[in-house]
Amino acid sequence: MTSFSGLTVIVTGAAGAMGEQEARMFAERGANVVLTDVRTDEGTDIADDIGKSAVFVPHDVSSESGWNTVIETALSAFGSVNVLVNNAAISKAIKLIDTDVDTFDLFYRINQLGVYLGMKSVVEPMKAAGGGSIINISSVAGLRGASTLFAYSASKWAVRGMTQSAALELARFKIRVNAVFPGVIDTPMNAPNPPGMNDVLVKTTPLRRMGESHEVAEAVLFLASPGASFATGAELAVDGGMSI
């Protein structure tokens, strides 16, 4: 089993199903984990359950000062920042013609601005550590158009673009930047979808099922591991073939 012993991993949106799974699996494999989320009660419970190798930081990813707190907490608790998983995101099925500016701006702030601020925040601590690994969670909607997820898709394409540009800029510091593109994953995020939508999404997945959070987390952990040491700017779809 790959060991992340001695490394510190920041996972945003860690009170959500995928973020929680990622944080737990990094911790199981020896990492110290910094969990962040706006959902303070849930995030605190998860960190408490993981134990001494985990801390929770209440955190809105679109807040630059919030990121300072996250980095300070990581450094004071564990002494370094080695891996960042930009997992936090919001999703809602809305068509272009029904999307107002406030809604579009909210998607931009959390799904795009949050990823940019996260990457910017970890550069100095990762340089100090001699390198690092950033994994941005995009989506199948960041590889293809999405007829009912206009603002979400726009923000996830932005994540894809930022991943490539950041990979180019940060390679000289031995900071690898890669992206994971989950398909339909069985999490509460899909619950608010209109009736029948999830069935349709499964029908458009060649594997004919939803993915599980741990299946995405395995891909994230792989990209963070030494096995992926020559991967930067790479794009890994974990989607049961949906984007083919």
């Binding site: 089993m1 790959t2 060991s3 992340f4 012993s5 490394l7 490539q164 990979a167 180019l168 800029e169 390679a171 000289r172 398909g183 060649p206 594997l207 004919r208 993915g211 599980e212 299946e215 995405v216 395995e218 891909a219 792989f222 591991s225 030494p226 096995g227 992926a228 040491s229 020559f230 991967a231 930067t232 700017g233 790479a234 794009e235 890994l236 779809a237 974990v238 989607d239 049961g240 073939g241 984007s243 083919i244």
Partner: protein, 273 residues
């Protein structure tokens, strides 16, 4: 950081077929599969190297097979079925590369690139398919896996690589087409696209030292990758850690496929690799 060699046994009891397993990435993958518990069959055209690799690893067996020879492949797959009764992983890493200017390219060169790099993967995947399927149907594995080795040249083609790049780009299409057809029987097909990797094959194209330095400066990571770094990715995709990954193409190139890194531009922004 942790070591690249991991003490895991993800392939205990499994059988893996690695074409082009006598050198470079294929040999590195074969060694890793064997280290993680698989019985490994490697194919190639160089008997001396095949024997050397087989003798230096437990559970690696060499068979002289040219992937353009369908009858030889069919015979090998029949033998695998009779001997082991299962096949869990096929890695299509047999490949040849030569640079040729398009204007003067011979038909022979075109066929050489297409036959080994593309048609070979078609032959091996189709020949192995019934055994890959029955391994799942018999309950021996939750899924079985084909991993195709494409190339950075399948995505962004370098000068002189129009035939090789054509074969490798088509291998991506073959990956997607087979992935979507075969997943219903539990066979996952994925692709790895390596960039500049330090292997006998890449040194044959990088040529002299000056050329190699130019190659390296075009890699954001500032170095060639190792065959073992690609092998690690192949094993991840083939493992039961990747059950929801179907039809994916994972580029392992130190960032070399990413655009716009002319050295003059980087100097302008004080961003030398």
């Amino acid at each position: 950081m942790t070591s690249l060699s991991e003490s895991r046994r993800r392939f205990d009891g499994c059988v893996a077929l690695v074409t082009g397993g006598t050198s470079g990435i294929g040999a590195a993958a074969a060694a890793r599969f064997a280290a993680e518990g698989a019985r490994v069959l490697i194919t190639g055209r160089n008997d001396a190297r095949g024997a050397e690799i087989a003798s230096s690893h437990d559970n690696v067996h060499f068979h002289h097979v040219d992937v353009t020879d369908r009858a030889a492949i069919d015979a090998l797959v029949t033998m695998i079925g009779a001997t082991f009764g299962r096949l869990d992983v096929v890695v299509n890493s047999a490949g040849v590369v030569n640079a040729r200017p398009f204007a003067s390219m011979s038909t022979h060169h075109w066929h050489e690139m297409i036959d080994t790099n593309l048609t070979g993967a078609f032959h091996v995947s189709q020949s192995a398919l019934p055994l890959l399927r029955s391994t799942v149907a018999d309950g021996k594995a939750p899924s079985t896996s084909i991993v195709n080795l494409s190339s950075l040249n399948g995505l962004r083609v370098d000068p002189g690589m129009s035939a090789y790049g054509s074969a490798k780009a088509a291998l991506l299409a073959l990956t997607e087409g087979t992935a979507i057809e075969l997943i219903e029987s539990g066979v996952r097909v994925n692709c790895v696209s390596p960039g500049a990797i330090d292997t006998p094959m890449s040194s044959s194209t990088a040529g002299d030292k000056k050329n190699a330095e130019a190659f390296t400066s075009a890699i954001p990571a500032g170095r060639y990758g190792t065959a073992d770094e690609v092998a690690a990715v192949i094993l991840f995709l083939a493992s039961q850690e990747a059950p929801f990954i179907v039809g994916a193409n994972l580029v392992i190139d130190g960032g070399a496929t990413l655009p716009s890194r002319h050295p003059d531009l980087l100097n302008m922004f004080n961003m030398k690799p």
